[in-house]
C-alpha cells in the first residue's frame, strides 16, 4: 500500500508541482512552437509521453548496469543523448514499417523530440532522485502527462491571444511569452498541494 501511495505521489508531483514545462522550464521550444493549435499540441504531448517512457526504460538500465558498474556516472549526459537519439530514430523506422497510421500522426513530432531537453531532463532527474525502475517509469509518465497538460492548456490560452488586440510591439512572441509566464505562475499554486493530499 505504501509503495502504491508513493507512486501516486511521484505521479502527481511530476504532473502538477514539478511540471517540466511550467516549473522546471524544460522543453520550452516545442511548448512555444507547437502550441498554436489544439490538435497539434495534443499530438506533440502524446508523442512526448511515449518517448519519455521508452527513453526511461532504456536509460535506467544503462545507468545502473553499465555506467555505475564502470564508475562512469559523469558520462551520463553524453551517453543518454546518444541513446535517446538512436532510440527515437529506431522507433520512427519501426513505426513507419508496422504502424503507418501512427507514424503519420506522430511522424512530424518524433524528430523534434529527439533533441528535446525535457526528455533528457526526465531521464537524468530519475537517476538523481534515486528512483527505482518502476518509480522512474511512473515519474516519466507523470512528466509526459504534465507536458501534455501544459501544451493543451496553453494552446487554449494562445487561441485567445491570437484574437486579442495587443499593442504592436507586443504582438507575436512577446505577448506569448508573457502569457506563458502567467500560466507558469498559476502552476506555482500547486506547490504544497501534493503533500497535503496524502498527509
Amino acid at each position: 500500500m505504501d509503495t502504491f501511495r508513493n507512486l501516486i505521489i511521484i505521479l502527481m508531483s511530476s504532473v502538477l508541482v514539478n511540471n517540466y514545462v511550467l516549473s522546471r522550464f524544460l522543453g520550452i521550444c516545442p511548448f512555444l512552437g507547437v502550441s498554436k493549435k489544439l490538435d497539434q499540441a495534443t499530438g506533440m504531448g502524446v508523442s512526448v509521453i511515449f518517448v519519455m517512457l521508452v527513453a526511461t526504460a532504456a536509460t535506467w538500465p544503462i545507468q545502473h548496469f553499465v555506467l555505475d558498474e564502470l564508475g562512469l556516472g559523469y558520462m551520463q549526459t553524453i551517453v543518454f543523448i546518444l541513446v535517446i537519439a538512436a532510440l527515437v530514430q529506431f522507433i520512427e523506422i519501426v513505426l513507419k514499417k508496422y504502424i503507418p497510421s501512427l507514424h503519420a500522426s506522430l511522424g512530424v513530432y518524433l524528430p523534434l523530440i529527439t533533441t528535446n531537453c525535457a526528455v533528457l531532463g526526465v531521464t537524468i532527474n530519475n537517476i538523481t532522485d534515486g528512483y527505482n525502475f518502476i518509480e522512474s517509469l511512473v515519474s516519466s509518465l507523470g512528466a509526459g502527462l504534465g507536458f501534455l497538460l501544459a501544451m493543451v492548456l496553453f494552446s487554449g490560452v494562445r487561441s485567445r491571444i491570437e484574437n486579442c488586440d495587443a499593442p504592436e510591439c507586443f504582438k507575436g512572441l512577446p505577448v506569448t511569452l508573457i502569457a506563458a509566464s502567467i500560466v507558469s505562475l498559476a502552476f506555482f499554486g500547486f506547490a504544497g498541494v501534493v503533500d497535503g493530499l496524502f498527509a
Binding site: V66, L70, L72, A86, F90, I93, K97, P100
Partner: protein, 266 residues
C-alpha cells in the same frame, strides 16, 4: 588516469557502435519503399511552405500529387513554371495556374451609404476605422481613404466616389491590398469569375436597409434561384462558391438590391 579515459571512450564508442549497427540493420530490414517521384516533385516546388495549395507544406503537397492525385497547378508562388515541371515528372498535361484578382466587396459609394459622421483626420483607412469604424453608418463599408491604393505595386486601385475600385486588367493577384484593408473586405477571386457579391455587410436585412441602399439584405433569393447550389447566405451575407458557380447570372437578375455584380457580354 589513462585507463579511466580509455574506459570512458571505449564505453561511449561501444554504445555508439551498438546504436549505429541497430539503426543500420533496422533501416535495411524495415525500410519502406517510397515513390521516388515524391522527392523529385518536392525539388521542383519552391519550398516556401506557404500553404497556398491547401496542404500543410511543400512536402505534403508533393505527396498529395503522387498519392492522392492532387492537381498539379495549385502552387501559387511557383506559378505556371512549377506546374509545368511537375506535370512533366508525372507525364501528364500541364494545367494553367488559376489566376486570381483582388476585388473590393463594397458598393457603398457616396449617396448609397448613409453617413454617420464626418471624418476630418489623417487620410488613412486605418486611423479612420479606429473612430467608431469610420464615417459611414455601415461598419463593413469601404471608408475610401485608399490604404489599399498606396500599397498596390501596379497602381491598379483608385478610389471612386468614396469606394476603392480595382482595375482587373492591372491586378496581378499579389494580395497585398487584402492584407492591408482594415475592414477585411478585399478578397482574391478567380479572374474569370462572372458573378461577384459586392457587399460585405453581415447584419440582418432591416439594419442593412438603414445603412446602405446597395447592401445585401440576406433575402436568400439568389440561394433559391441558383441552379448549381453555388451561392449561399452565410451570416446574413451571400457568398459564392466559385468551384460550383457556372456563371449563369441568374442570381444577379433576382437580387432586389443589385448587390450581385454580373457584367453583361459585350
Amino acid at each position: 588516469m589513462i585507463t579511466d579515459i580509455l574506459t570512458a571512450v571505449a564505453v561511449v564508442a561501444a554504445v555508439g557502435i551498438i546504436c549505429a549497427v541497430l539503426l543500420a540493420l533496422a533501416s535495411h530490414f524495415m525500410s519502406v519503399k517510397s515513390d521516388e517521384r515524391v522527392g523529385s516533385i518536392r525539388e521542383c516546388l519552391p519550398g516556401a511552405n506557404c500553404g497556398a495549395c491547401g496542404y500543410t507544406g511543400c512536402d505534403s503537397y508533393a505527396k498529395a500529387i503522387v498519392e492522392e492525385g492532387a492537381k498539379t497547378n495549385l502552387c501559387v508562388p511557383g506559378a505556371t513554371a512549377v506546374a509545368e515541371k511537375v506535370a512533366a515528372i508525372l507525364g501528364v498535361e500541364a494545367d494553367a495556374v488559376e489566376s486570381r484578382t483582388a476585388f473590393v466587396h463594397c458598393n457603398g459609394h457616396n449617396g448609397a451609404a448613409e453617413e454617420k459622421a464626418i471624418y476630418e483626420g489623417i487620410k488613412s483607412c486605418k486611423s479612420e476605422c479606429l473612430i467608431y469604424g469610420g464615417s459611414k453608418a455601415c461598419i463593413y463599408a469601404c471608408v475610401g481613404c485608399g490604404d489599399c491604393a498606396s500599397v498596390c505595386p501596379k497602381n491598379a486601385i483608385c478610389v471612386e466616389d468614396g469606394v476603392a475600385r480595382i482595375n482587373k486588367k492591372l491586378c496581378i493577384g499579389c494580395g497585398l491590398c487584402v492584407k492591408t484593408c482594415p475592414k477585411g473586405i478585399i478578397s482574391l477571386i478567380p479572374t474569370d469569375a462572372k458573378a461577384i457579391v459586392i457587399c460585405s455587410n453581415k447584419e440582418k436585412g432591416a439594419v442593412v436597409r438603414k445603412e446602405c441602399t446597395n447592401g445585401c439584405i440576406a433575402c436568400k433569393k439568389c440561394e433559391k434561384t441558383c441552379p448549381s447550389d453555388a451561392i449561399h447566405v452565410e451570416n446574413d451575407l451571400a457568398v459564392i462558391d466559385y468551384g460550383k458557380c457556372i456563371s449563369c447570372g441568374k442570381c444577379a437578375e433576382v437580387c432586389p438590391v443589385g448587390c450581385i455584380l454580373f457584367p453583361k457580354e459585350k
